[in-house]
Assembly symmetry: C2
Homo-oligomer: 504 residues x 2
């Protein structure tokens, strides 16, 4: 099954494989310094990069400029994170002559970089989930050489960003081959199949993500593949929340649906409400002010226009905000938000047509009769999702009449999504240590992990134990003198005699 690479790709993979031991051996502080240098270089080149990105993606200057900042901040966060060494999960079990199962040798365990990783970048975040985005930051922080497969939607920006990254890493003294960029899906697939490549990351559609996940799993030596795929992010709003702040909810909703022309994996695709009526006017008013926005590329625009037609043509679907998609002479699509309503019965009847993600500024309000078991709606209608949200009133909570129903809904959400929100909107994912961006299939191909937040680094390391190995030959994180100052979890001699005793 191993295929021959073209000479050009062979050189890319060979360079990454050669860089692997050298880059893994770089001292954590130097690796952090190099990553911060990338962040600084991106910000120094912000104006040029944003100009290219605007042309290639149709996203606004404000959005793209903020995205460069976000990208730099997440690189710096990973730099700080890797130096703590907490992600190494260093464990030391001391030699123990009184061990419960005979003599225990000295055993020490640490997480080590996987080796070269390929990251398939996203269309909709040309900075934050692209060449130097979150996955790339996590891969570099973990100590793995990175090969980025550029997204076809912004090839020039990818090259320009890659030049900035390459120069910054070289300037910081990182080994040649630590970072490389390739173009073309076939190139990406060929690299993912190469035995020297030890894993993959991806942000994009369910169809492509599944294809790549299947390739990674079917290799003669399978490798982990972390795909962040599709999501419709259901929202629930209580009657009391609407009574309390219906206008705020309506305007927050419209902003969340229409920002970046709705081309966000965390866009709220479904909102379950007790009654559409009270929200109808404020939603229409909020939508009024939203200017036409170019969609990322003609293919995405065409596919959004088709999804929109399907949804509008489903029996029982009533537009609250009609919106539309206009195609210009270059074939680019320009969208204004479309917001529709449907009854729970019609949603149930039209489920197959309605439930799939519409990648663009469109959302569906579902009107649920009083007394509906909201917790039961999630497993009835949805697979795994990135997020689920509940809007409730100030008075609703621990002591209120519906406290038990709220708890049941939160539990149902927890079983099916990666992030549960109260009184907010799922777009605008905070880049922060506790963030979870991922969820059960098809939100991701592997829900053991996240692609935003510092835990993302743990996708690209694997454990190795050292038994009775002398100090000089141990990885630095496991030495008794702990030169890196990482957290070391120690189990002392004799402890095993007491295991379980407290619970008898």
């Amino acid at each position: 099954m191993t295929e021959t690479l073209s000479p050009e790709l062979e050189a890319v993979v060979a360079r990454a494989a050669t860089a692997a031991p050298a880059y893994a051996a770089v001292a954590p502080e130097d690796r952090a310094r190099a990553i911060v240098a990338v962040a600084d270089a991106l910000e120094a080149n912000k104006a040029d990069l944003v100009a290219i990105a605007m042309r290639e993606t149709g996203l606004t200057e404000a959005r793209l400029s903020g995205e460069v900042t976000r990208t730099a901040v997440q690189l710096r966060l990973f730099a700080d994170t890797l130096v703590t060494g907490a992600h190494l999960d260093a464990r030391i079990d001391e030699a123990d002559g009184a061990f419960a199962l005979g003599v225990r040798p000295d055993v020490r365990r640490v997480l080590r970089p996987l080796g070269p990783i390929i990251n398939f970048s996203a269309s909709n975040f040309p900075f934050a989930f692209s060449v130097a985005g979150g996955d790339s930051a996590a891969i570099l922080a973990a100590g793995c050489p990175l090969i980025v497969k550029a997204h076809s939607g912004h090839p020039e920006l990818s090259d320009a960003t890659a030049a900035v990254v390459t120069a910054a890493l070289a300037g910081a003294g990182m080994p040649d081959g630590t970072f490389q960029l390739v173009h073309g899906r076939e190139a990406g697939v060929a690299i993912l199949k190469d035995p020297r490549v030890k894993g993959g990351a991806f942000t994009g559609s369910i169809a492509v993500g599944r294809l790549l996940a299947d390739i990674a799993a079917a290799r003669p030596a399978p490798v982990p593949f972390f795909g962040e795929l599709g999501s419709v992010n259901p929202v629930f709003v209580t009657e009391a929340a609407i009574a309390e702040r219906g206008d705020d909810i309506a305007s927050g909703f419209v902003t969340s649906v229409s920002g970046s022309a709705g081309q966000l994996c965390t866009k709220p695709g479904f909102v379950f409400v007790p009654s559409v009526e009270a929200l109808e006017a404020p939603i229409a008013a909020a939508a009024q002010g939203i200017p036409e926005h170019r969609l990322l590329d003609p293919r995405i625009a065409k596919s959004f226009a088709e999804r929109r037609d399907t949804i509008l043509g489903t029996p029982g679907v009533r537009p609250l905000v009609e919106g539309g998609v206009r195609f210009d002479a270059d074939g680019q699509g320009w969208a204004t938000p479309t917001i529709v309503a449907v009854s729970l019965d019609d949603f149930r009847a039209g489920h197959e047509r309605l439930v799939h993600e519409a990648f663009g500024p469109l959302s569906i309000l579902v009107e649920v009769p009083a007394g509906t078991d909201l917790a039961a709606l999630l497993p009835e209608f949805f697979e795994g999702n990135l997020t689920a949200t509940l809007h409730l009133s100030e008075a609703e909570g621990a002591g209120s009449a519906n406290a038990e129903a709220i708890a049941a809904l939160v539990e149902a959400m927890s079983l099916q999504v990666g992030r549960v929100l109260f009184n907010g909107w799922s777009t605008g994912v905070a880049v922060t240590p506790a963030m979870q961006h991922g969820g059960p299939w098809p939100a991701t191909s592997n829900d053991s992990s996240t692609s935003v937040g510092t835990a993302a680094i743990q996708r690209f390391v694997r454990p190795v134990a050292y038994q009775n190995v002398t100090q000089a030959f141990l990885p630095a994180a496991l030495r008794d003198d702990n030169p890196l100052g990482v957290p070391q979890a120690r189990t002392g001699a004799g402890e095993s005699q007491e295991w379980g005793a407290r619970w008898r």
Copy 2:
């Protein structure tokens, strides 16, 4: 692709699915108490269980009795582990008005049980990797309902153990459906395919492990599958080590190869030595005393006899200890150890015939010429392995002439195995927090994890974040009052302004 289950299996999966939320909600201390009750019940029934196991597996009373103790100890270790809550990786990021990317909401993240898991048990550890073995302990500790697929090699023992486990869990008040046992590979496969089942564990052959891993990956909604498969565990011995304690090395080697009739995934299958001559006599002397040992079942015996013939028939292979396999009237095979030697050149020439695991008491010494780059032998001859071992002398180390070669060998080992040992033998895996039992393919189907040691619990949880969720609706591990007393990693307001600043 979803298939219809038989009524009997449908009832099993339905019970596990019903048990999932109830068992996940059991307080950690009560879950720990239940797991300790299982450990105590196994020890209370040791005599009866060991008698069945001896008959079904041919393993000795001493070995099986020790294995029950080991199984009980690992259950108790997991009970203690789950209560600490360290595996929950609880993170709390405080709301932050001065966040680097605009206002950050309160975000909290915790790891939650996956749901029902199927564990395919092993033939060669009828207790420690079977019904109530390590994977089962990790699954129950994580808070997941457990379905065990019994190994066909010890069906009666599996039923007897299951009765003990079921009674202990019921006695401790655990929900019905927390633990169930099924027989037959088809039943196991059907359960692994069911959408209500959220993951699998396995210990066995590469062929079967690959089959099951592929099934798990190909499901409409893929699930993680943790297979511990094959390994040949290469060992390297320096000239100085032989000079210093050749007799000890020879006898330790023979004990490690012949214990449990060599039917251990950590058996040293290859030993690279500078010269066979000095070890020949002590190996023969040590092997003399090893009594004939029954192999686990006729299929394993037949397959071992064939592998042995293939190895003995390979050009350049010279028996140091001939050993053999004798079949009795019941078709059971009885083995004495076979130890052979081959030159590096002949090993290279006969590589395809020699390199695969021989599951039984057989090992191959490879004589390497002086000046051979030992570190290069690992990638030349082997795929991923569970372990690699180096025997060196007291004087060899940080200051010695071959210090660099040792460091290079340790690094090569680290890239290809899950556990690196000095001056010991890879059999007899310590059940202890820092243990790593797993390694790159084909040692395991997923080398992000271990199947021995407390980190094994992390295979069966997944992260969920809570954003702006009020205290009353948070999981206990994320509450400010921390009722479970788990470690909570807190990121305070304002910290993000300094991210990366130290590395500039």
